[in-house]
Structure formats: C-alpha cells, structure tokens
C-alpha cells in the first residue's frame, strides 16, 4: 500500500511535460494568438495587441479563405475519402484473390510510395506531372492531349499525387480487417450461392464497417495536414488555385509575416481536426462495447 498515490505515476512526467510544452501549449497559444495582431517581425512581434475577432472577420471577408477551405474539402474528399479509401479497399480485396507473387509485388509498389521520404515523393510527383513529364509522355504515346497539369489542373495533380502517396495506409488497414474475417463466414455464403459481388456487399463490407469508419477518420486527419506535397508541386499556385489550409496558414504567417492572421487560419484547421479526432475516439469506444 505504501507506494500508492500520485508518486507511482512519476514516470509519466517526462512524456507529460513534452506533450504539454510542445503540443498542448502551441495549440492554446494558437487560439490565443489568433485574437491578436502578432507579427513575425517589427513592432507587432514585440508588443502584439489584442484585436478580438478581427482576424476571423478578415477570414470571412478575404476571398482566398473560402476558396482555400473549399480546396481543402476537395483535396480531402477526392484524395482520401474517395481515392485512398476506395483504391485501398479494392487493392485489399483483389490481393486475396490474386496469386501470392502478384499480390506481394503490388503490395511492395504501393508501400514504397508511402515509405519514401515526403520530399522525395513530392519531387517524383512533380516530375511525373510536369509539362514534359512521364504522364504527358504516356498520354502523347496514346495520341491524347497533354495538358500542363501543374498549371491548368493543379488540384487534379495534387489529388492524384496524394492518392499515389497515401493509399498504402488504407490498403494495410483493409488487409488486416479482411484477414480477421473468419474463413467459415465466406464459405457459408458461398455454399448458399452468393456471388463475389454479393459476398462483398452483404457480408464483407458490413463485417469490416468498423475498420472502414476508423480508416476514414484517420486518412481524413492525415490528408488535412498535408503540406509538403502541395508546397513542392505547386506552392499553392497558380494564383491560389491549389492553396489548401496548411499552405495558406504557412504563407500568411511566414511569407507575409502576419502571425495573428496565420494562426487564425491554423485555428480553423485545428478545429476541423478536433472534430474528426473526437469522432474517431468515439468510434473506437463504441467498438469496444
């Protein structure tokens, strides 16, 4: 009984300090700074003033912010919810039916894009979509038109690049989920005469719906935060046509030196993240019951 009490939780302290100082601290600082006119340099850096909701009013009036919010939704919906999620599921399902050699080959290719350092993946994607890059060479070989992707279709390019980079995660989640389904279930359905698509729709998908929900939450959060890929491929351009929220926050704070306004953008991003984070945790708790 002697060592009961808070003392035995002492070992948690280093981790707790790190989390409080470097994660929780900045989150609260972000919300607080978003109500000030803090600058990167100059007078406003030393003596920032409280400006109330001014930054948020500016957000609503600034034509770039709604555009950026819309582009972020497009980016997350297109590359994560549709692209990574469906492609990951398709890969996982196909891999169970294919020859082992084929499925491990495709597994390696998909995972390679995911394990590569993000800056390298971004360079590769940039080269792939550039005017005379691999994609246009292929399209040219097929006799099709070759648009300047990064200039005319910047969002399409970054969405596809992020699908390429991130699908491995969904694939691994769904492979693990499919492996957990007892073999007997599929066999019983097969005995009852269910075809492949029927088994997928009425048995497999309902059985892994927990994993589907979890995966959607996690890839939404990951995609929400993507910066490097967009920054290297288009730098948010041309003319803000691919400025997602992380890029906007970075530009406002570091390029234009307006920390207060930049943190207002970041605060919106944090709030969206928090909503999905709480949703994710609720899902996990329900799954346990």
């Amino acid at each position: 009984m002697g060592e009961r009490g808070l003392l035995r939780y002492l070992p948690v302290l280093p981790a707790l300090l790190l989390l409080l100082v470097f994660l929780a601290g900045p989150v609260f600082w972000a919300f607080q700074a978003s109500f000030t006119n803090t600058g990167l340099t100059g007078r406003n850096a030393r003596n920032p003033e409280w400006v109330g909701l001014e930054n948020y009013q500016r957000l609503l009036l600034d034509p770039v912010f709604p555009l950026s919010l819309g582009l972020t939704v497009l980016f997350v919906a297109g590359s994560a919810v549709l692209g990574q999620n469906l492609l990951g599921l398709a890969l996982a399902v196909l891999m169970r039916r294919a020859r082992r050699a084929v499925s491990s080959l495709v597994g390696t290719a998909v995972v390679a894009a995911w394990v590569l350092p993000e800056i390298v993946a971004a360079f590769a994607a940039y080269a792939y979509f550039s005017r005379d890059g691999t994609l246009n060479q292929l399209l040219g070989g097929l006799g099709m038109t070759q648009p300047d992707w990064l200039y005319s279709w910047p969002m399409a390019a970054v969405v596809l690049a992020n699908v390429w980079r991130g699908t491995a995660f969904s694939m691994l989640v769904y492979r693990a989920a499919l492996n957990d389904i007892p073999v007997e279930v599929a066999e019983a359905a097969q005995m009852d005469g269910a075809g492949g698509w029927q088994r997928l729709a009425f048995i497999t998908l309902p059985m892994i719906r927990g994993s589907i929900a979890t995966n959607l939450m996690l890839i939404t959060l990951q995609t929400l935060a993507v910066f490097t890929l967009v920054w290297v491929m288009t730098a948010g351009g041309p003319a803000n046509a691919s400025t997602t929220l992380p890029v906007l926050a970075y530009q406002e704070a570091f390029k234009f030196g307006d920390i207060g306004y930049g943190t207002a953008v970041a605060s919106v991003l944090l709030l969206i993240g928090a909503v999905f984070g709480v949703g994710y945790i609720r899902l996990l708790r329900e799954g346990k019951r």
Binding site: L18, A45, R97, R99, V102, V110, V111, Q137, A266, K288
Partner: protein, 293 residues
C-alpha cells in the same frame, strides 16, 4: 469476372490458393487488375531511377543514352550529402531515442497500475495522435522564438519527439500489456525495485516491440520536411530533407540527374529499415497502435 467465379466453385481450394483463402482459384482477372495498378504506382518512380543514371537528365522520363554514375559521384561530397545525412541521422536517432525512453516510462504505470486516471489519459493521448501537426507549426515557431530555441537541434529533437509520443505511448503500452505481470513478481520477491524489474525482466521481453517503435519513429523523423524547414535555419544544421529542397531550389536551374541521385541515396536507409520491420513484425505494424485502439 462471373464465369471464372462459377468455374472455381466446382473445384474448391486446390491448396495452391493458400491457407485462409476460401475456395477461389480464379486468380486471372485479379492478377491482371493488380498488375495494372502496380504499374500505376511504379510509374512516378521511373523518372527518379532513370534520371539518376542519366548525365543529361531533365523532366522527361527517358532511358539514359549511356548509363553513368556521375550524378551519384557529383552529390557525394561532404557539404552536399554527408553533412545533411549526418544531421538527418542525429535528428532521427535523437528523436527516436527520446521518444522511446519517454514512452517506456509513461507506459509502465499505465500498463501496470489500475487507476481512474488511465483511461482519460490514454484518450487524451490518442487525441494527440489526431492533431494536424502542420496546423501548429506557426505557434511552435512563435514558441521557439520566445524561448530563443530557433535553430537548435536539441530543441527540434524534443519537438519531434513530442509529436511522435502519442502514437509511441499507445504502441509501447500495448507491447507492455503483452508481458505478464507474474514474471516481474518473482523479481520483486527477490527484493528488486519496480524500475529494476522493468529493466531486467520487462524490457528484454518486449525488445522486438521496442525496436518496432524506435524504427517507426526514426522513419517518420527521417522523412520529415516541414518541421526542420521551419525550425532549423542555418545550413550547417539542416537535415537532408531540407538541404535537398534549398539546394535544388524550386524548379530553377536544376541539375535533375543529381537531384534524383541525391533523392535515392537519401531514401535508401528508410526503405531498408522498413523492409527489416515489415519482415519481422508484419506490415501492419504501423497500425497496431492507433487502429486497434
């Protein structure tokens, strides 16, 4: 798709389909579809590999006229490659070490004691894994300015450790839960303290799991671009991810062959590390912390 599907029902699982694959031997269409997808995933990497061996590489993907190692030779200088890689190693190994130590200490009470405090703490930590890190880089920059920590490698290591900690605590606690308490009890009877029992009994038994956490954090830190990009200013301290970006500028007069060669040399260590972990612990290792809860 349906014709071979029906045919396969007549000859259920011929063994070659492997265990756990209920009776379909219709690999044909699935194989073709997967090979097409595989090609789509490999194509963006083609330029990287071909350009690195091409003395006159540009944007376009082409088979080099004459295969050369000149690009690799050109980037393998101390200033260009070795110093940044050394910085990457310091940052990543430092981050992984700090994360692992803090995670082990934190996981011990959470795994071994029952308390009302555990569940809320673990869920708060889980919320930390959901934090979009790019959103807090502006305030973190502000924090580093106030504390005069900008351009400090140790401070950058501490921040990267903090971002890796939530996931690491979950993974470490799961691995620790798998070690039965009864093994430690014998050591306590012999008079060992809890920390001594942790060091001599528990940690050796979970060393494979600890290796997974270390490598997992190391890979993430090695590939991290945005954090050192914002927090480290002087060229002498920048890791490869940042130096490669600033050296080759943004698509100006770029030596594409050298860029590709540098990228490959910089990527190889983490690809090798991933291969080791994936072989040892199953490729879903990365998910054991978060997805399973």
């Amino acid at each position: 798709m349906t014709a071979p599907a029906r045919a396969s029902r007549a000859a259920p699982s011929e063994g070659a389909a492997g265990p756990g694959r209920p009776g379909h031997r219709r690999s044909g269409p699935a194989d073709v579809a997967l090979l097409v997808l595989c090609a789509c995933f490999v194509l963006p990497l083609l330029w990287l590999v071909l350009a690195s061996f091409d003395a006159e590489a540009g944007h376009e993907t082409r088979v080099p006229g004459a295969v050369t190692l000149d690009n690799f030779a050109a980037v393998m200088t101390p200033a260009l490659l070795l110093q940044p890689l050394w910085n990457s190693l310091l940052l990543s190994a430092g981050t992984a070490a700090v994360t692992l130590v803090a995670a082990v200490f934190a996981a011990y009470p959470l795994s071994r004691y029952r308390s009302r405090f555990n569940t809320p703490f673990m869920y708060a930590v889980l919320l930390g894994t959901c934090l979009p890190i790019t959103a807090i880089m502006v305030p973190v920059y502000g924090l580093f300015v106030q504390l005069e920590l900008l351009d400090s490698m140790p401070a950058t290591v501490l921040f990267m450790a903090a971002t890796a900690l939530p996931m690491a605590i979950w993974m470490t606690r799961n691995f620790m839960d798998a070690v039965p308490v009864s093994l430690e009890e014998a050591a306590w009877v012999d008079g060992a303290s809890r920390m001594a029992a942790l060091r001599t009994i528990v940690l050796p038994l979970m060393r494979q799991g600890l290796g997974v956490v270390f490598i997992f954090v190391f890979i993430q830190a090695w590939g991290n671009f945005f954090v050192p990009f914002v927090l480290l200013l002087s060229e002498a301290k920048q890791p490869a991810a940042v130096s490669i970006f600033s050296f080759f500028g943004q698509h100006g007069a770029v030596a594409y062959g050298q860029l590709a060669a540098f990228s490959i040399l910089y990527s190889l260590p983490v690809l090798a590390l991933y291969a080791i972990v994936a072989k040892g612990a199953g490729s879903s290792f990365a998910l054991s912390g978060a997805v399973r809860g």
